[in-house]
């Protein structure tokens, strides 16, 4: 733990980051920027894990490892998402999310 910085400060940062990500996911029109918003969300969760690990359970490494795994999952998700985006681009020649609505009902 870091002297002089309470855990709440870290949590405030990560919470704000999380909801910035959520907001971004909802307001951006471009699929790639939406993906970036998702990365922000994941990142904020990672910070939470690591901080809880360091501040509350310093004798273990659970949060640390879960952050590692989340990074792995984020990489996989990004790869698949980008493959999908490229495929969508090939079909409709843009990547605006409003245009991806053919499977609604």
């Amino acid at each position: 733990m870091i002297q002089g910085i309470p855990i709440y400060h870290f949590l405030v940062v990560s919470t704000l980051m999380f909801f910035i990500g959520v907001c971004g996911f909802i307001i951006r029109r471009n699929l790639i920027t939406m993906l970036m918003a998702v990365e922000l969300i994941l990142n904020s969760v990672n910070i939470n894990f690591v901080v809880f690990n360091r501040y509350l359970y310093p004798d273990q490494l659970q949060g640390h490892f879960f952050s590692l795994f989340i990074v792995g999952i984020a990489a996989a998700e990004a790869a698949v998402a980008i493959a999908l985006i490229i495929n969508i681009y090939r079909r409709i020649n843009n990547i605006e999310v409003e245009n991806v609505n053919e499977m609604k009902f």
């Binding site: 959520v22 909802i26 409003e98 609604k104 009902f105």
Partner: protein, 637 residues
């Protein structure tokens, strides 16, 4: 005492034949199915005879013939004590029934080789015959009442299939449906009876139920309904099941129509085997009837007596020879029921029981003979009606002789078998109730009269203009006739009272001249009147018929029972119960269900616009929903 394990093959062989011919019969020449079926039935017949000989003549202990259970497996385990088993039970009546069924069935199999030759569905016919034989054998060998019920229904199904064998004929279809529905209706009573009985006793097994010292009826006395004890209710309901199968009044209406089936089927099912299942059921449950529900036994006696009189009267006026025989069967079944109803338990007291079984045995022989003879006549003349026949004795000597033997037997002329069995029934009735005796005495005369009316009409009288000269039937048909004729003649000399008795202990019977002589006399009187009226073509019968007028017409129409049933079902039940119920079902119940579906469909159609296809709206809904949940949790907790 074991060594009877092979008896399990007796029902299983017909089952195997049924499966084989039923599945593969279409691919073979028809004759193969016929011969296979006949051979299988022959094997069962031989096994049954061996069983009977080794059972009855293998000696018995002080307590008489004890029941043997060579095989019994637990099939369904309902509770710790209430099991449904499947097995084979050998005791005097089941062994006797084995012989009756396999004999008649074997004869019918042989006979059908000739009778059904060239018919469409020959293989199907044999498959059904095998199915029927299997079910019937399973029924008589049942170790418990539930197994009996299962086979009881199987018998009903195979009877349905065989009556409707000519399924292209509307009347056959109607008859098969009628038979099935009426017997099914009665079986409902049987089932309820079984349930009550098993509820009281906690067992289905016959060897516990029919034990005279049975302890299973402990709690029976305290139970009752509408002032009548539960046991009486149970036994009356079981008797209703038996009455349905045995076509007792007022459930008799299906049997005459069942004659739409091929004649060998009538001989097998509707004369010798299936219709006596009801009698067999009462005999099987006899100790229960006698010790627990004597009132029910009284019902049995009166229903039997009334049916025998009622059917005999109708038989006089019928012209369709198969219908005459059908009503005659009804009448004789009434005899058997009555004999059971008036019987006591053990020794001389059990005379009625013995007589009933004896009559069942002899009746199976001579009634099968009569039906097969009738089949032979129909085969030759191509008509069912007496007024198309006459003077056939010249053309069909074997049929004539055997038919005459059968008529004499049923009329009770000594020393033919019918005399002995009928005589003992009359004795039993005399000892019990004079009114019933009077009815039966009258019926004996009527029986002789209508049988000889049939006989003289068919074989004597004037020649008709036949399309082609009638000819004697082929050998496959006449051999069974001759065999059954021999059986009818000599079956009366079997020492039945030493073999099949109510408590399985032998006793001696003696001739009761006081009763035997008048009964023979009334039989002869009946024959005499028939000779007088029908030997020569004459106008007297018509004149008599005209004299009786309405009474004759009512009798000819079987006292309008079919019409009454139709009126009750069609006019009353259909109109006032079924239609409102159907309306309720169609409009309220269905409407409710359809309404639910419609509302769901319409609603989803209306709200499907909310599925905008915009990913971000979904994401918003998700996050907002989560927030709402979190807020509500925060607020309420």
């Amino acid at each position: 005492m074991t060594g009877f394990e092979y008896t399990i093959l007796i029902p299983l062989i017909p089952l195997a034949i049924f499966l084989i011919t039923g599945l593969l019969g279409m691919k073979w020449k028809p004759a193969v199915s016929g011969i296979l079926g006949t051979a299988g039935m022959g094997t069962s017949f031989l096994l049954s005879v061996i069983t009977a000989i080794s059972y009855f003549f293998g000696g018995h202990g002080e307590a008489g013939f004890s029941p043997i259970i060579p095989a019994n497996i637990t099939w369904l385990k309902l509770t710790e004590t209430l099991h449904i088993k499947m097995g084979v039970l050998l005791d005097p009546i089941s062994v006797m029934m084995l012989v009756v069924i396999t004999t008649v069935s074997f004869m019918v199999h042989i006979y059908s080789l000739g009778y059904m030759k060239g018919e469409k569905g020959f293989a199907r016919f044999y498959a059904f015959l095998s199915l029927f034989s299997f079910s019937m054998l399973g029924l008589v060998l049942a170790t418990n009442i539930f197994q009996m019920y299962i086979f009881w229904e199987l018998v009903g199904v195979s009877s349905f299939l065989l009556i409707g064998f000519y399924y292209e004929k509307p009347s056959a279809v109607a008859a098969s449906k009628k038979a099935f529905i009426v017997t099914r209706f009665a079986d409902l009573g049987f089932l309820i009876g079984i349930l009550i009985l098993s509820f009281i006793t906690g067992t289905f097994d016959f060897d516990q139920l029919t034990n005279p010292q049975a302890s299973v009826f402990g709690g029976a006395a305290s139970l009752g309904f509408m002032g009548i004890s539960a046991m009486t209710w149970a036994m009356v309901l079981i008797f209703i099941g038996g009455a349905g199968k045995s076509a007792m009044f007022p459930l008799h209406i299906w049997l005459p129509d069942a004659m739409e089936g091929p004649t060998p089927v009538s001989a097998l099912i509707h004369a010798a085997t299936m219709v006596v299942a009801g009698v067999f059921l009462v005999a099987r449950m006899f100790p229960v009837f006698h010790f627990q529900a004597p009132d029910a036994l009284e019902v049995v006696a009166w229903v039997g007596g009334f049916t025998s009189l009622f059917a005999a009267v109708i038989a006089i006026t019928q012209f369709d020879i198969k219908r005459v025989l059908a009503f005659s069967t009804l009448s004789q079944l009434g005899y058997m029921m009555l004999a059971l109803g008036v019987s006591g338990y053990g020794g001389e007291e059990g005379l009625g029981y013995m007589a009933s079984m004896f009559h069942l045995f002899t009746h199976a022989m001579f009634k099968a003979l009569l039906f097969l003879g009738a089949g032979s006549i129909i085969h030759a003349v191509h008509s069912n009606y007496m007024y198309d026949m006459g003077g056939l004795r010249k053309y069909m000597p074997i049929t004539h002789i055997t038919f005459l033997i059968a008529c004499l037997t049923i009329a009770g002329v000594p020393p033919l078998s019918g005399f002995f069995s009928k005589d003992e029934i009359l004795v039993a009735a005399f000892n019990h109730n004079k009114i019933l005796f009077g009815i039966e005495y009258l019926v004996a005369g009527l029986t002789a009269f209508y049988m000889f009316r049939l006989y003289f009409n068919v074989f004597w009288g004037k020649d008709r203009h036949y399309h082609h000269t009638p000819h004697e039937s082929p050998l496959t048909m006449s051999i069974p006739l001759m065999f059954l004729a021999v059986a009818s003649v000599f079956a009366g000399f079997l020492p039945f009272s030493e073999l099949v008795t109510s408590d399985a202990k032998p006793f001696e019977t003696e001739m009761h001249l006081m009763i035997a002589v008048p009964s023979v006399l009334i039989g002869l009187v009946g024959i005499f009147f028939a000779w007088l009226l029908y030997k020569k073509e004459s106008r007297v019968p018509d004149a008599i018929a005209a004299k009786f007028g309405i009474l004759y017409k009512a009798t000819y129409n079987k006292f309008y029972f079919d019409e009454i049933y139709l009126f009750v079902t069609k006019k009353i039940i259909f109109n006032y119960i079924s239609r409102p119920v159907a309306w309720f079902d169609r409009h309220i119940i269905d409407g409710f269900m359809v309404g639910i579906g419609l509302v769901t469909e319409k609603t989803s159609y209306l709200i499907k616009g909310m599925q905008s296809g915009q990913l971000q709206h979904y994401a918003f809904a998700f996050v907002a929903g989560t927030l709402a949940l979190v807020l509500s949790i925060l607020y309420f907790l």
